[in-house]
């Protein structure tokens, strides 16, 4: 796992300061969506090899949620942005 994360608020930090929530690219389904959709959202995880977007919570630092773009095979980190900023970019 990538061992150094460059937090946009705190700078370069060790991974021990973070908690990983998981996939950041999936949106939450609508409340009245089918049970199957909700089942997939809650229980089914993909296990990708390669570039992924993940939510990382900087628990011991600024306590902000970040979106970390990293490679699960090479551990390389491509970008780290605040989750609020990421959501704004996705909306656009």
């Amino acid at each position: 796992m990538a061992s150094l994360i460059t937090c946009p608020h705190c700078g370069v930090r060790p991974k021990e300061e973070f908690a990983v929530r998981g996939d950041a690219s999936r949106g939450r389904p609508e409340p009245m969506d089918s049970d199957e959709t909700w089942h997939d959202y809650v229980y089914v995880r993909v296990n990708p090899r390669g570039r992924t977007f993940e939510h990382w919570h900087h628990v011991a630092g600024c306590r902000r949620f970040l979106v970390v773009e990293r490679d699960t095979a090479t551990h390389e980190v491509y970008s780290v942005v605040d989750a609020a900023e990421f959501a704004r970019r996705v909306e656009r």
Partner: protein
Amino acid sequence: MVRDYNNRHALEQKLRSAPRPAAADHLMVGHWRAMATVLARAGQAEAVRQSIASVPELSLRFSGPGEWLVVSEVEAPSGLVRRLEELCDGGAYVVDQSDGRVVFRLTGPNVRSILAKGIGLDVHPATFSLGGSANVLCGHIPVNLARTDEDTFELIVPRSYAESLFDDLMRMGRAFDLTAAFSD
């Protein structure tokens, strides 16, 4: 039944023995220090920061975007909260933390070597400038680290972690013969 509640410092038990004379590297534990968290409302962060930074006796410690720990050596807790609320003028939420946190002041020529044993942050003078501050992990304990002087760092820790952090710091400083005492 009437009980007397004594205001006891979290480290009273640990620092009970007669103080040794302070060595070159010394750990001072602040007895009672007024501090408060300030969380700016959306869009008010810069205005709040500037109005607090304009007061020299208030020390701003970064703890997140739009959020600070404000430490004062002169104010009493209630006075600090009132003062901050006046300064921010409704632009921020102010919560008193004076009884909930303990301040450690680590000073001496080897202070960076001591900190390096527990903190995963570059504290080289060129990177961590005077007046800088950050939330970091010291071992497994979340602390707010601030550089208050050339070779002086302050660690602010939740009260319930104080004894544990104290033991860790003394172990980290044992190679340098670190001493400890209450600062006032």
